[in-house]
């Protein structure tokens, strides 16, 4: 069992709106580990699009993403890559 936390900075233009939040939740849900996301003291479930949207995280926001479980490492790698690719949204690169 591993519990890992990484700080990731949102790079896409409009931040954590519907599509990024959806892709984040979808990616996190592929793994068995628990995922939590913290911003400014708010902690929410990382597998919920709704919860992620309530973070009101705009471009440049720093997210503390914690994964807890056997596949935590792979999960965080996957999420970090997604954020790094600006969620592959063409208009927000």
């Amino acid at each position: 069992m591993a519990k890992i936390t990484r700080e990731l900075t949102l790079l896409n233009k409009y931040g954590m709106h519907v599509r990024p939040a959806g892709l984040f939740a979808k990616t996190a849900s592929k793994y068995d580990c628990d995922v939590e996301v913290e911003k400014d003291g708010n902690v929410v479930a990382g597998k919920s699009i709704m919860a992620l949207m309530t973070l009101e995280a705009s471009c440049g926001a720093v997210l503390k993403v914690t994964a807890d479980g056997d596949d935590a490492e792979e999960c965080l790698d996957d999420i970090a890559a997604l954020i790094g690719r600006k969620f592959d949204i063409p208009d927000e690169q």
């Binding site: 409009y14 931040g15 709106h17 519907v18 599509r19 959806g22 939740a25 979808k26 479930a45 597998k47 919920s48 699009i49 709704m50 919860a51 949207m53 309530t54 009101e56 705009s58």
Partner: protein, 590 residues
Amino acid sequence: MLTIAGLATARGLAEGPVYLYRGDDDIPVSEYVVPQGREGDEFMRYKKAVGDVGRDLESLIAVLNERNKGGEDAKVFEGHLMILEDPILKKEIGKLIVEQRVNAEAAVKKGIGKFRKQFERMNDEYFRERVRDLDDVERRLLRALLGFAKSSRLELTEPCVIVADDLTPSETVQLPRHLVLGFATNGGSTTSHVALLARAMGIPCVTGLGFVTQKVKPGMRVLLDGTAGTITVNPDEQALADFAELVRRQQESEAELKDGLKAGTLKDGGQVRIFANIHPGVAFGALKDMGAGGVGLYRSEYLWLNGGKEPDEETQFEAYKAVAEYVKGLGDDAYVTIRALDIGGDKTVRGITVKEANPFLGNRSIRYLLSDREVFRRQLRAILRASAFGRIQIMYPMVSCVEEMREAAVEMAEARRELDEQGIAYDRDIPVGAMIEVPAAAINAKAIAKYCKFFSIGTNDLIQYTMAADRSNEEVAHLYQPLNPAVLKLMQHVLETANAAGIPVSVCGESASDPVIGILWASMGADMLSMSATYIPLMAKVLRRLTRRDLDEYKAFALGFDNGETGDEILDACRKWMERKVPELDKLLI
């Protein structure tokens, strides 16, 4: 078979199946406690609704992807699908049903409502706007639970006649044009938004039908006659045959205009200019076929209404440039009159317009633009920049006094100075004019003309403000009289003042499209009539049967009433005059 009569709102004939459209209004939901022991069934009802909505969304996404691979539309609904399936939301709603025995509909409203509140509190406008996505998912779930017909612009799968209570502008423009045969609505009037848009899109429309939504079922066959203002439900064979005959006569009548004579040409070779009223979001390809000599009214506010927010300068520029370039193909003397943002009143945009006790007397149009100078400046810059690509006129809507023209001139000078500094080209002689639609401006037309290169009279508002009668309120609609003596006097004053001042004056209200009234305005001094493109052929047909002398005679006739006649009596007399002069008027009206 059942025939219901309403208001003939947009000309044309349509035959096809009914699509019952439920608007985007709030769906009323009652809350009750589920009997003990039944909460499991209630939860299953919710789960089934989630499944149904999920399948609908999936097929919708597939349709959209088919049409436009990787397009934005599909992505929006993928987001909705995830919201629908969100584990936290499902848990929240499930808890309400199972633990508190709240019925599924109320649980959905409460569960989503909790998130909505969080979104509404957000500082960032972009995030706040996401509430609309929640609204959309909520409506879909509630419709599924309540057994309402699914409703979305994109669920039209075959050509249909849309039957609805009423339609908002954005609902109307979002409908796929090629699948809409006609509109029939319970409410509305001949000047409501669905009416304006139907006419702009060339789709037959009948409004004011009362309870038509209760008389039809989805898929029922109907005949819609936008010229007579009727809808026939489940027509019998005779009705179908009569309708086919009408369609044939309409086609025959349209063939008359194929002789190459310019629309608006009189019998003696004289000319009344006929332009088109249009708005962004509707293709203007048909304008040339209809015979438009230019665009007399470009309703820029639809860029705001369609997008739900202010379009940036670049977006506006592209839209204005497109129409400026298009009108070049309509003739050497063609141009487009762009109306500056005409917002407020019944045209509202969340986040821009605010709730007012009396919106029609509130911060509308030029008043709004002068109260938010940055918005005004961005629009002026965009219009000026576009003027380098084709002939444009700028028109300020709802001017009431000279001060507004002065203030607007200050902004215009500032916008020009900015462009000069940046070395951006624009038409240095771009004409600026006022839309005359407030009685104060009409009465004081002489002073306002000093600040204008042209006038355009907006009769819809001028009549409504002069008569103090809401054009869409059925109870007082009878007071909305285009030829009330008071309206006639104001029209005469404005037209004569503009003629005396040597500035062109056009009429762009809906009254301009009625041959009986529009031709009267032309006879009284209007240089140009601007109307929805679908009305141009009819106007052209009537005008080619009249001479300039006929027009002079008509003017003397209409302005000769001086014995306490009512507006309706004058209109009636004018109609009879026109019928005497043009005996086949009835037939032309098909």
